[in-house]
């Protein structure tokens, strides 16, 4: 028999590469991110958000490739900084909620009993809170509202779904004999959780985090659009799109909101296509056993 590598990452990777749509999505997304992060190092945020009354709403030109907004600020610059902010926020929320959800889900699922009961009641409680309303309240009462506090507030609410998913998987996994075997071999609980169970969940975690990333970028944009996201001094894709609430801008000044809308759509679609391919790979692996 041939020696086959059985790491979950190689299986997932192979599936993405084989899927034309996912591969093009991956390439396109990498290109966008490369440009966005590369250019945002060069660009000066202070310079871009400075109001220039002489060039309000100027259409695309050689000086401003994508025109300017009502404050005479360069749209292309805002688009790049905004995309960087939106993506970074989405990624940070995804990783933070992933970490919290994973830890809590593993503990609840593995130990079960009273610990599980308490954790699940706390999660139920968080889930019935009116998320949007509380975020709006937070925006109002937190004095220094910036990218960092935004990430923290979002993560405080969004980890519950992941904790539930992981818990459900661990509940099934811990009934398998390899976990019993580890216990009878004298392996401590934390080692069983981290070294035995966690690796078996890795593909599910990767798939879930990827699909979540698209959603989290959307959440940031959506809240900024509604006016409860980041302040205007911190450009984000949602802020740019929200200029379209002005009917004049919506009808006559497409360059203000259209590029940002398209960018959001493209990024979310790309991430989703990659996520779908990963999901298929994870399922196929499970079918193979």
């Amino acid at each position: 028999m041939k020696k086959t590598e059985y790491s979950p990452f190689s299986v997932l990777w192979r599936e993405v590469v084989k899927d034309k749509l996912a591969l093009s999505s991956l390439l396109l997304l990498s290109l966008i991110l490369f440009i966005v992060y590369g250019a945002s190092i060069v660009l000066d945020q202070e310079e871009i958000v400075k109001v220039d009354l002489l060039s309000i709403y100027s259409p695309p030109s050689a000086e401003h490739w994508l025109g300017t907004d009502y404050g005479g600020r360069d749209i292309l610059g805002q688009l790049i900084i905004g995309a960087r902010n939106s993506f970074t926020i989405g990624l940070a929320i995804t990783l933070l909620t992933g970490l919290i959800g994973l830890t809590i889900g593993l503990i609840a699922g593995y130990f079960g009993g009273v610990i599980d009961n308490i954790i699940m009641r706390i999660i139920d409680f968080i889930l019935i809170l009116p998320f949007l309303m509380l975020v709006i309240v937070f925006v109002a009462i937190v004095p220094k509202y910036n990218v960092f506090t935004f990430i923290l507030i979002m993560s405080a609410f969004l980890w519950t779904g992941k904790a539930r998913l992981i818990r459900a998987k661990v509940l099934a996994e811990r009934e398998l004999d390899y976990v019993s075997a580890s216990k009878t071999l004298g392996t401590p609980d934390w080692k069983i959780i981290v070294r035995e169970i966690l690796p078996n969940l890795s593909s599910i975690i990767i798939v879930n985090l990827t699909l979540n990333l698209a959603g989290n970028i959307g959440i940031e944009s959506g809240l900024s659009y509604l006016g409860f996201g980041l302040p205007e001094s911190t450009p984000s894709l949602g802020t740019l799109v929200s200029y379209a609430t002005n009917p004049d801008v919506l009808q006559n000044k497409w360059w203000v909101w259209l590029p940002a809308s398209v960018l959001i759509l493209v990024m979310m679609l790309c991430i989703n296509f990659i996520g779908q391919a990963l999901k298929r790979a994870a399922d196929a692996r499970q079918r193979l056993g």
Binding site: M1, K3, T4, Y6, P8, L176, D177, Y178, S180, A181, S182, K183, T184, L185, G186, T187, P188, E196, P199, N200, G289
Partner: protein
């Protein structure tokens, strides 16, 4: 001092229900069983599905908490030990699992699977560890290069051998084998069973052998305990159980063994019908009003039966 003594062991699982998941009843998976293992013997635990065999085995090895009773191993009551104290006894009691597929972590190489107990109990250098694992893997009849492979690269019988190698790593005294071959192809079963007998001699192991297959029990065991609904129905040596069964339940169980000889099949069929009739008629003599068996009564030095 007896090697292992189980005394009036009870394991009751709570049944939860209702809105607040309150305990509304108990499943009496094991309900007051007592038996002894002597050093070096193979003790068979037989019974129909759900009679509590697995629960008994898992309680002895500490995977399930006993509700009441004692498990005396080397004079120490295992049910009273804290988790930390139990770790010392872990080395002496090991288990071979029923399912060779789920009992090996698919993400780990054979080397890491078999070395897991070593890493918990002994500080070996990577070279020493590898040498020891390779030695064990060869002992169970696999090639020493196998240590770099993953479980899915092996057949069911080979996987079960890897599981056995893992159980042997710490030089245990008692091995609990819970239906070790029931997931395997019949052609491989004999191979694994004979191999288990060989290592029993070599390592002076005591087996608690759990099975519902009386043919296998007959092949492997010195003494046998028949279980029914969490209690013992009959206990005795292999000869006593197979040639002189006293309880109607044991007789019925023995009659259900399929006969390989086609000429005697007719005869067997008649016997089975006869016992089935007896079972119905004599039911009330062997079982109490709740359908449970009576406490064991000793009828000879080695033979006990549950009769009033």
């Amino acid at each position: 001092m007896t090697f292992l003594r189980v005394n009036q062991l009870k394991v009751h699982y709570p049944v939860r229900g209702g809105f607040f998941r309150k305990v509304i009843g108990h499943v009496k998976a094991v309900d007051g069983i007592s038996f002894e293992l002597k050093k070096g013997e193979t003790y068979g635990l037989v019974g129909e599905s759900g009679c509590g065999k697995t629960t008994t085995g898992r309680t002895i090895i500490g995977l399930v908490k006993a509700t009441a009773g004692e498990i005396l191993f080397d004079g120490k009551d295992l049910t009273k030990l804290s988790r930390r104290e139990f770790v010392q006894y872990r080395k002496d009691i090991q288990m071979i699992f029923q399912d060779p597929y789920s009992s090996l972590n698919p993400r780990k190489r054979v080397l890491d699977i078999v070395a897991e107990p070593l890493r918990n109990f002994e500080k070996l250098s990577p070279q020493e560890e590898k040498r020891k694992v390779q030695g064990l893997i060869e002992k169970v009849g696999l090639h020493s290069d196998s240590v770099y492979k993953y479980p899915h690269e092996f057949s069911g019988g080979q996987r079960q051998r890897i599981g056995i190698a893992r159980a042997l790593t710490l030089n245990p005294k008692l091995i609990i084998a819970d239906e070790p071959v029931s997931a395997l192809d019949v052609s491989v079963q004999a191979q694994v069973l004979n191999f288990m007998k060989d290592i029993q001699k070599e390592f002076q192991l005591t087996y608690l052998f759990i099975s519902h297959d009386l043919g296998i029990i007959r092949h492997m065991c010195d003494r046998i305990g028949i279980m029914y609904r969490g209690q013992f129905v009959e206990e005795g040596t292999k000869d006593e159980i197979f040639h002189d069964p006293k309880h109607i339940y044991t007789k019925r169980l023995l009659a259900s063994i399929p006969n390989a000889d086609p000429l005697r099949r007719q005869e067997q069929q008649k016997l089975r019908q006869q016992i089935e009739k007896d079972y119905e008629q004599l039911y009330s003599r062997y079982f109490d009003a709740e359908g449970r068996v009576y406490p064991l009564k000793r009828i000879s030095e080695t033979h006990s039966v549950a009769i009033p």
